[in-house]
Amino acid sequence: MTTTETSTSQPGSKETDKKRVPAFLRQFSTILLLVIAIEITIFSNTASHFNTTGNFLEIIRLSVEVGLLALVMTPVILTGGIDLSVGSLLGLCAILFGKLWRDGHLPVWLAAICTLLIGATGGGLNALLVTRLRLPPLIVTLGSFSLFRGLAEAVTRGVDNFTGFPDSFLFLGQGYFLGTIPAQLPVFALVAVGVWLLVHRTVYGRAFRAIGFSPEGARFAGIPVERRLALAYILTGSVCGLASLIYVAHVGQAKADAGTGYELLAITAVVLGGASIFGGVGDVHGTLLGLAVLAILRNGLILSDLPAELAGILTGVLLLAVLVGEAVLKKLFVHRSRRLNTQVAPLNPLNPPA
């Protein structure tokens, strides 16, 4: 309809965008719920032991480690950053925990506290480089991804393996309260509620979003950008430490390859949950839904005697399908008002420092 200058159509289209985005996001979690419903319907028919309370608790039990990483990845991605080092940090924490306990002769509880501190230090290193030197998080965490895993390999010389932890510790990953509730479930629930409150009910969460939309704008709005960013990365590091404890208790041993590839699963869950990799958009319940989609898919396929590789393939395809669907929907909606304004969507996912 508009055949005049694009400048006149731009404010109008921006307004329609504003109205549309929240509505679309509400649809987004509906899409995920729908996917979960479809998964459950299919797997209930293909796998006899799928649709039981025990199995659902088992699904949660098996996805706690990745789940913890995905939860704390959410604030990081909200700020427009990313943390590729979480899987490696989990591995480093796991073997340092084993080292402190076995070779350092520390009691398990003290070693566990030290592990959390080590995780926080690892996150602190990322935070330092991202905030003090204003380096792109992608590169910083790519470097620490290699560094942490490399240190884990160097400490164990690639062969050392820590086992024989006391039963009281293994209970954290293998035990059940009242015979049914997995011991790590309360820990996961606590962290989930904590991160949800942090992101959705505090000024910190608001700051994360603001930084994700525009770091410069956030600074002008009086937000201490560096300190908030540091909080996000250090929180991620500490939770890596926690996840490593649960991992060790779960599998009963600590090796240098613990948590390999977890960073990609965590990021997939967050992005599948509707967070924008550019920052500013996303929520914790979305992440939990994304996580559920992935975990149910894997569990259902295995129980249906289908190859585990199919889960990986479908994860990738699902991620692409959600992105393409979102892009196509947006194009359909915005197409009319922006016929003349054929801008390329923001191409840079890396959020270069201003």
Binding site: G150, L151, R157, L323, V344, L350
Partner: protein, 307 residues
């Protein structure tokens, strides 16, 4: 001089490492040893050049490793069927270009974030390969496959010559051809490039196709070094290539970087593992040292560059 400071710094670090080796372990400089380091680095160099171009245009590709595995296996299967070597090379390159075109279509066509798209394709292709081959090597390759059917030394030289030629063509194209300058233009400011009559979408799409083709060629050069093809090959190559590009001075925020620097970055990272062996240090330190070099390189970048 000042314009090349970053590249010179990396090259300096490489020379320093080589000097240390010259004093501590002269055996490193035996021709056979050097050639084997170089032939192992050549596939990484091609992938790193591809990803450097993609990063200069302000995108990223983390699916390289999976593409590499597919190209290797497809080339191996073609060779096992008795296809002539030129056709096998074509299979690897076309397969890479096709897989790259899928990435490029999704990223440039729909404007999706490249890091998420290539994350998805990385997982999909890797798992699809695992499902299809179930870890089975491609065996019973004809004698024309390994080292192109030549002696080991001859094959190594041919491999190095191919890699060097492709590298030089890329260096020339990036500096002197309009298409090369478009890459910098799109990476510096896509909107300005569009107003100047360049289509950022087309440039981005073609870059991903080129990225795939280079990965395919790299996969071929990587595969011919062995008597059979491992379907797990290329795992972690994406991060190796990105790390080499970043250490070599390619700015992750786009618009800046030189392929000479990438070459220095690839060689620096490639020399660490053999250097550790020759200096009698535990080889398990390799990853940690690589990570430290990446962090040191970007940190030094920030301190010296100011901006």
């Amino acid at each position: 001089m000042k314009k090349h400071l970053r590249e010179i710094a990396v090259a300096g670090a490489l020379v320093l490492l080589l000097l240390v080796l010259a004093f501590a372990a002269p055996a490193f400089f035996k021709p056979q040893q050097l050639i084997s380091v170089l032939t192992a680095a050549a596939p990484v160099l091609l992938a790193a050049c591809g990803v450097a171009l993609v990063i200069i245009a302000r995108q990223i590709d983390i699916s390289i490793g999976s593409l590499f595995a597919w190209c290797s296996v497809l080339a191996g299967l073609a060779a096992a069927r008795g296809w002539p070597m030129p056709l096998v090379a074509l299979v690897a390159i076309v397969a890479g270009a096709f897989l790259g075109a899928i990435n490029g279509g999704l990223i440039a066509g729909l404007g999706l974030p490249s890091i998420v798209v290539t994350l998805a394709t990385m997982v999909t292709w890797r798992e699809a390969m695992r499902w299809w081959r179930e870890g089975e090597f491609v065996r019973d390759l004809p004698t024309t496959f390994q080292w192109f059917g030549m002696s080991q030394t001859g094959g190594q030289w041919l491999l190095l010559i191919i890699a060097a030629l492709v590298f030089l063509v890329l260096v020339f194209a990036l500096k002197h051809l309009a298409g090369g300058r478009f890459v910098y233009a799109v990476g510096s400011d896509a909107e300005a490039a569009r107003l100047a009559g360049i289509s950022p979408r087309i440039v981005t799409f073609l870059l991903f196709v080129l990225m795939g083709a280079l990965t395919g060629l790299g996969a071929l050069l990587g595969a011919i070094r062995f008597a059979d093809v491992d379907p797990k090959t290329g795992e972690g190559l994406e991060l190796q290539a990105i790390a080499a590009a970043v250490v070599g001075g390619v700015a992750i925020s786009g618009g800046r970087g030189k392929l000479w620097g990438v070459l220095a970055g690839v060689m620096l990272l490639a020399c660490i593992a053999p250097a550790l062996v020759f200096l009698h240090i535990q080889p398990q330190w390799e990853r940690a040292i690589q990570g430290a070099i990446i962090l040191a390189a970007v940190a030094a970048d920030r301190w010296s560059g100011g901006k």
